[in-house]
Amino acid sequence: MSETRILLANIDEPDLNTIAVYERLGGYRPLRKALLEMTPEEVLEQLEGSGLRGRGGAGFSMGKKASFIPKGTMDKYLCCNADESEPGAFKDRLLLQKNPHLLIEGCIIGSIAAGANKGFIFIRGEYSFQADILDAALVEAYERGYLGPRILGSEHSFDLVVHRGQGAYICGEETGLLDALEGKRGNPRLKPPFPANQGLYQGPTLINNVETLCNAPLIVDRGADWYRQFGQGNSTGTKIVSVSGNVQQPGNFEVELGIPVRGLIYDLAGGPPEGRDLKCFFPGGSSSPVLTKEHLDLPYTFEDMAKAGSMLGSGSIIVVDDSQPLVPLALRLAEFYRHESCGKCVPCREGTNWTVKMLERIDEGEGTPMDLDIMSEVQGNIIGNCLCVLGDSMAMPIGSMLVHFREEFEQHMEAARARRDLQEMQALGAGELAAVLEAGAV
């Protein structure tokens, strides 16, 4: 099992983040082609024909999304979502740090397809190092005339701004991102209207993930048919998969969609530490329902992950080995979503809070088996009842853990209760303790 590197082909080249090296390796050639040899319609056609699906999590066709942008002379915008906050995902960080010009070029090509004249890269504030690199790359691109008015003498003008977030997971949700970009609290909006019709400043807006936009120059350069030869079925192209958790060699691996999950976890990432076995894994970031050993031989595609009851999401595999108790992990997961819930919709705000409380109770020995049933029900009541999918993102993995590992939750509950009982006994005097043990009251 090996990687197929097309996006990351030159990633180890020293100083790839400077425009000189990027241009030497053929950079900005696709942009010239798109601007000078192709019409915007042809660019859009190539993107649509490639079958490229959004790499941010939802997996929606990028070309189709761009084609929804209305024609006309109104102000249109392009937003690049670089607010990579999903636990387990770190692929965009690599691209932003090592190959910022690929992203800038992708943004310009995206803007040609969408007819946008103003673009924003929304990068999370924690990535300040990467944002500085991106800022420096933007200056270089402006100097060479790849950005600004009438790029390379064509009719197309495009301005790009790096906008730094300040630490909120919900800003990775596209409408939350738009609100944050407008200078508000990052609360998601009601959809429809979708951003393609009414997005940033109420104008039509194309929002794409970093990795999606980075694919655009490759597709324009070598054509949609070339791109379609990678991958399987409707999951075309390659995908950068971030593998983390209990594996021996965590990292980013670019693979063709459709390789077996086992190959990713065991061959590329080295598998769980010696003497340990895989217990479960999140196939698409912490928001995806967990899968177990029996799913290891499935092909890693959008469709197969969905069929197994999970999702490919942002393509981030978190491996959990058998030394990890699941209840603290579930608690940590629920705490994350409780912290990050923006509080706009009740099912998410209250559901995440109550899930945390119940898991704490179980972990402290105060839980009852009924808690597990209530917890499953709470998860069911969150899914699909909020403006965005943040609540679902907690409900789905926790719900799936309860399905696959209910026995372990029960055992954990019993052990915690027994520990609590012992602590109570410790508080008793020696005589009382003997009496209690004699009576078998424990």
Binding site: E182, S244, Q248, S323, Q324
Partner: protein, 252 residues
């Protein structure tokens, strides 16, 4: 109208000591008029901060978009989003301080209390959690308390997007990892002395590669380690509790 006078000095300790009724947070000052958009002539704004905010405002079609960059700039200037900092931004951007405070309280990286000019965020997210991140955080926090580290905000942070180098920390944006408890003294000392933290172990360092994981310590046994009389076997042995059913695990 309260924009033309200085806000009264606020006794933070007394405010914290007062128990407010549920639903009220201490930001609510019922004894004052709500602050309105400040008069630009009445608020003194440091020239560099004003220039930075105005440069941000010029980048966007709508000046409100510059709120986040402006808050970030003011926080770098003042150390936190203090009432004074908010007044200064409000004067330059012509928005109400309440609007700014509504935004500042939403974002994790904006400090609405004086917590320190610098920061150490230790990731304890879902992917770092199985790799002992909590212990690393506790070691760093304990070490910082011991060395008396001042003016640095040390906190657990949600996923920082570097799960390959888990467990990791961000020291003023410098990502270092993988860490274990033994790295805490070196990290804290470097922060205290203003040196580069853990040289060679950051993604900012050229040629950095994530090292393969060391073998992790074995976890708890597969069978739940529960003594029939309650608690774990180890705890029961320490207490010398006799097993109620004669020793389910057949220990001699």
């Amino acid at each position: 109208m309260s924009f033309d006078r200085e806000p009264p000095a606020r006794d933070e300790a007394a405010l914290r000591a007062t128990r407010l009724p549920p639903g009220w947070d201490e930001a609510v000052r019922l004894d004052e008029d709500p602050a309105t958009v400040p008069d630009p002539a009445a608020v003194e704004v440091p020239a560099d901060l004003r220039a930075e905010i105005e440069a941000s405002m010029a980048k966007y079609p709508d000046r409100h978009s510059a709120v986040l960059p402006a808050l970030d700039a003011a926080q770098r200037h003042h150390g936190w989003c203090s009432p004074e900092a908010l007044r200064q931004i409000a004067a330059v951007m012509q928005v109400t301080p309440a609007y700014l405070s509504s935004v500042a309280t939403f974002y994790d990286m904006l400090r609405t209390r004086p917590a320190g000019r610098r920061y150490v965020y230790v990731c304890t997210g879902v992917a770092c959690h199985p790799r002992n991140a909590k212990a690393v955080y506790e070691a760093i926090a304990a070490e910082a308390a011991e060395q008396g580290l001042e003016d640095v905000e040390i906190r657990e942070f949600e996923c920082l997007g570097a799960c390959d180098m888990a467990p990791m920390a961000s020291v003023d944006g410098r990502y270092v990892g993988p860490l274990d408890e033994s790295d805490a003294p070196g990290l804290v000392t470097a922060v205290k002395e203003g040196r580069e933290v853990l040289p060679g172990r950051s993604i900012a360092d050229p040629g950095y590669q994530v090292p393969p994981s060391p073998r992790q310590p074995p976890g708890p046994p597969d069978e739940p380690d529960v003594h029939p009389a309650g608690g774990t076997w180890k705890e029961a042995e320490l207490l010398d509790v006799p097993p109620a059913d004669g020793g389910r695990r057949g220990r001699s």
